[in-house]
Symmetry: D2
Subunit: 405 residues, 4 copies
Amino acid sequence: MSVPTDVKKVVLSYSGGLDTSIILKWLQTELNAEVVTFTADLGQGDELEPARRTAEMLGIKEIYIEDVREEFIADFVFPMFRANAAYEGVYLLGTSIARPLISKRLIEIAKETGADAIAHGATGKGNDQVRFELAAYALNPDIKIIAPWRDWSFKSRTDLIEFAEKYQIPIPKDKRGEAPFSVDANMLHSSSEGKVLEDPWEEPPAYVYQRTVSPLDAPDAATDIEIEFAAGDAIALNGERLSPATLFARLNDYGRDNGIGRLDLVENRFVGMKSRGVYETPGGTILLAAHRAMESLTLDRGAAHLKDELMPRYAELIYNGFWFSPEREMLQAAIDHSQKDVEGKVRLKLYKGNVIVTGRESDKSLYSDQLVTFEDDQGAYDQKDAAGFIKLNALRLRTLAARDK
Amino acid sequence: MSVPTDVKKVVLSYSGGLDTSIILKWLQTELNAEVVTFTADLGQGDELEPARRTAEMLGIKEIYIEDVREEFIADFVFPMFRANAAYEGVYLLGTSIARPLISKRLIEIAKETGADAIAHGATGKGNDQVRFELAAYALNPDIKIIAPWRDWSFKSRTDLIEFAEKYQIPIPKDKRGEAPFSVDANMLHSSSEGKVLEDPWEEPPAYVYQRTVSPLDAPDAATDIEIEFAAGDAIALNGERLSPATLFARLNDYGRDNGIGRLDLVENRFVGMKSRGVYETPGGTILLAAHRAMESLTLDRGAAHLKDELMPRYAELIYNGFWFSPEREMLQAAIDHSQKDVEGKVRLKLYKGNVIVTGRESDKSLYSDQLVTFEDDQGAYDQKDAAGFIKLNALRLRTLAARDK
Amino acid sequence: MSVPTDVKKVVLSYSGGLDTSIILKWLQTELNAEVVTFTADLGQGDELEPARRTAEMLGIKEIYIEDVREEFIADFVFPMFRANAAYEGVYLLGTSIARPLISKRLIEIAKETGADAIAHGATGKGNDQVRFELAAYALNPDIKIIAPWRDWSFKSRTDLIEFAEKYQIPIPKDKRGEAPFSVDANMLHSSSEGKVLEDPWEEPPAYVYQRTVSPLDAPDAATDIEIEFAAGDAIALNGERLSPATLFARLNDYGRDNGIGRLDLVENRFVGMKSRGVYETPGGTILLAAHRAMESLTLDRGAAHLKDELMPRYAELIYNGFWFSPEREMLQAAIDHSQKDVEGKVRLKLYKGNVIVTGRESDKSLYSDQLVTFEDDQGAYDQKDAAGFIKLNALRLRTLAARDK
Amino acid sequence: MSVPTDVKKVVLSYSGGLDTSIILKWLQTELNAEVVTFTADLGQGDELEPARRTAEMLGIKEIYIEDVREEFIADFVFPMFRANAAYEGVYLLGTSIARPLISKRLIEIAKETGADAIAHGATGKGNDQVRFELAAYALNPDIKIIAPWRDWSFKSRTDLIEFAEKYQIPIPKDKRGEAPFSVDANMLHSSSEGKVLEDPWEEPPAYVYQRTVSPLDAPDAATDIEIEFAAGDAIALNGERLSPATLFARLNDYGRDNGIGRLDLVENRFVGMKSRGVYETPGGTILLAAHRAMESLTLDRGAAHLKDELMPRYAELIYNGFWFSPEREMLQAAIDHSQKDVEGKVRLKLYKGNVIVTGRESDKSLYSDQLVTFEDDQGAYDQKDAAGFIKLNALRLRTLAARDK
């Protein structure tokens, strides 16, 4: 077993559910470690008080339960949306972006409580173990990290249930057998994967979807909304100024009701295999469309195209767990520099899965109808300039063509 | 006037409409040039025989009228879709990709007919002049190019109409005044811009849309289709093997009926200003989603991510008119190399503007449920490996953190 | 003539030499404009007082003569060297980086003096016209720019000399005929091009070199120096803290004496043709090697590799004249973010054209001999981790190989 | 021990030296495996017959000894030089590029001999283990790989020597203690690292250098050479057509004699730590300068700049061991596409560490002195075009400046 054997006190990322409760008890019994629990409200939609009760019941003295939704949206989700980040063209990184925040709090709590280790409930096959651990190591190089799913000797669900029974961990009825799929959720998205989703030719069953109605079941009437931006971030909805998490929650409601943000994807994991997941990112899907529209009016072409070229790398870094890395921070510095004047309003129509931009305006607009008009532009643009522009852009191509003749 | 004054014979890109008929006559009368016309069926939806009759009436002896739809889809559109190309994140380059094909034929016809010049009807404010001319120069460095909209002395619609009347060019009723917007169309898309679209805060009026029903008016029932790929290109639809253009036309029908592929965009032109356009790319929008899904199953991560990073540059090159350039060809070589095994089937659900991937399968699939399963994988993957993987990926971050302590 | 005809007052970038004196007089006589002169000491090695006397003699009332060497090195050269910028792999951008500084002062002086235009002496074939003008427009979109070499009607050297004689402009003897090559110089470099250098198969004649001895004539003994860095910039030389320009001047002396920094290059101009130039960048060549060595010890791999990938784009932007552009500033933000801990000392051996790094040390070093040693590392690194690292990096390649079998 | 315990027959990369002889015996005695040896002449400068004799003495029946120098230069080194590849700006990848060739032969020999495993002598701290193993897995996903340095239980030099004595492996006198540094060599370069080089502030001692004289000891007279290229590869030297390896060997001689190609570098390993190495790449350093010069004349700007931007990624892939990966092959396809017309001659002066380009010529030259001349160009270039070119390039910057006013 490659588990650190000399661990004294562990901060565990704890949901209150069966699996992390088993981990909790395993840390106590197998590693003889004192356990501190950390339960975060990231907007996953679960109540947190049951987690407190179970932790208390399992003998935990130091229980951290925190609402980090505002920090999550303001310091993680919004910076990422400034980049229009999408992994492999389409995935909005809902799980990836939550992990560094959790690791940051685990490390901070370890310092506060004098713990020498942290533990998480991610498996050894997925990306999340990498994200948790890279973030943790980047913040504290000496931290010990325990990943029980990689390390313990349980071989089956039955083993786990037996262990739970032995230690009188409460077992919800529906957790006795294998789940038909596994879920991760936070304010940005929910993701589902595994078992019933493992055949990529099979359409996901309807019951997999957690937080959106089907486009086919969404209202027959369209809904118009207006998002206001400042410095690249959404600051108001339909004229009402809102905190980041409040605003995002409202976007989620709009998205859910209108069947927006579903994604059925085969993706490439950092650990080397392909996996199939179903994502629901209702508010994020709306926000991405709105942010792009806001940028289209206010961002210079040079900045916009550079952002587009940097984005895949930036998204890959977040997906792979390198949020706390010099290169992600360098890219963020470049991206943030571009967002100063990304402000104004975007109007959108939401309809059965569609997010349709229907208008954008800004005091910082770079759009000039005088430049672009087919009618008399009063000298704003001299069409004769185009001839020289083309001639010099063509010069190297003509030289090449002359040579190849 | 910067027009070449010594032109003897010009091949004109000729639609048969009023504007290019005026150009035709202007070339004859002002430049004393013999004119050859070239009218291409790119799937824009116009009949071409009227163009022949008008050209004959205007005294043209050498009239080229050609159906280039198969060449357009097979040699221009499909290679571009192998790259998943989208300009500024969303625009599928429908106009951009047609221009090099037209220029190529203009240059070839110039050679066949002994012409020393070509002419096109693009204005001096747009991207199309650049695309026409860069492509032409890249194919024949000595060609003379005439862009009457940049060069002639007409100052208003009235001047043009007077000229047309003087030379008895037939004037359709609705062409006497300014059009409320201008349109470009081919098999891949139609684009609309100008006048009624010039305020980016105003929603485009319904009458602007040419080839799609509104998502709100599309059928209440979803439509399922299946596209088959080989070497990255679509080769069959619903089990029926079809030629590129035939297949694409069917996708257009599906897209039109289901309200798919509308885009209202503020974009950055190569000539330096922002413009607002409305695009309809019904079949292309379906094809892009299907191609990405096919790649998700069959493309290795290294290839997929490299493609994603190269794509914005590739799309920019096409948008800016550099189709016939060494750097576009280099990128194409890289992209095409990756497509060898992009084959198999993708199933899609089309519904009121949505293109929903519901399945993908391939003999060349790289997806392995054995690797990814939560259940016993029979040794396909050793979770212990993940610990070392993370440790070495973390090493530099830990060194950094240790220094910064 | 496309010259603005309504110019009232022009700020001229003025060297005091024959060519810019002719421009000065031409602005006065042909455009009836009042002229303000700006002469900058960028370290080109010319005395500036003669420029004042000639300007006075030609009737100029507002004469700006300024030593901008410290600003040049601190605000333009050093930021660029933080990026390790080299155009087309090797050219250190000596001319390119000086132009935006000059334009900036021209625009500022125009504001101070109420001038509505600026003028420069760059020809219509080169990059410098682009650099001057893009920088000027980026700082004042309404400025009028006069580029007499593009615009006047002189057709030959003889015409120019006649004009000079007519207006009693003093003509140095060696300026009556064509120069055998043309020179641009500042503290960073001197460049030579034209005429005797036009055949790229011919070795440049020895008399072309301005500021370096030949490596073959340099001293037989090597010289050791030590450069100290803070935040990515050189701050001390051989233990002596020096201002940016003073330090750079000393590096130039070392480089000149040891035959360092010569470059004979065929390069691609932004305006579309290839040209051949001879560059001498003695101090810059030393600084680049030292900066790279300092980074090799103090920069994390992620940051270092991202910088390497961004560099060609950054260098191209500077070469093409886009110093004052959003995308250059975005890249600069990323680069500067990486330089915080690039501090310490580098020791170099200079010898007959060679710059040999012989040592580097830093309090912010990320190099750990404990990690790297072949001997017992006391657990700093567990070789077993490498197996897992390789296994997961290989996983996708194995999946691919298994498929292709 | 994570060694595969069920190995039957192993192909060992065998040098004939003490360390790989110990590995050989260890495979026989500890794993009970039959051993096949593979010894390659990559131009490292050792005789290979002693390896045969030692292998025979140790009881090996299947002994492969091969001269792979031509394959190494033609199929690995030359393709890499087409890219101007340099890792972290300066390292010419001499070790990295040899590993995939060795792995390829190991896998091929395993197939021929019915072996189920391969073994190599790289340590668990370096890059070479990664390169060997990624290449091997990419070619045979089912191969077993044994890396004894990671896996065996020897803890010190003394343990190894005892094992060697026990099995009567011949022990050269100078191998009893730790070597003062370790060496890897092949036709492209030699690298030295470890022990006496571990302090990056200390200059490498003179005895570290293996295959170059010091620039200070090189001849006082310069040597002129001429390299001819076709399709991006060197094909002739001083007018004599030579095979790839023969030509490269001559370049090595020129480089060695003239003190060319030494590099003292702190670099970032893929496994996460920094290391310090001393490299000597005499012929490669000459070839890189010559190839860049050949491209400067014959490569279009678009192709050249794209190559420069792709290069750091390409070099990183080779350094990290991803030679046999889809993304390296994609980049190679792009690079090779650009090299078709990279042909002609380059003249170089070699002098005490300097490689000075003194001329380049080509039938495929894109350099035109008519375009570039300061004198009358007979209409090849219209300086008026530059005004329009600048105006449209400036348009977006002016729009931005107008907004920000």
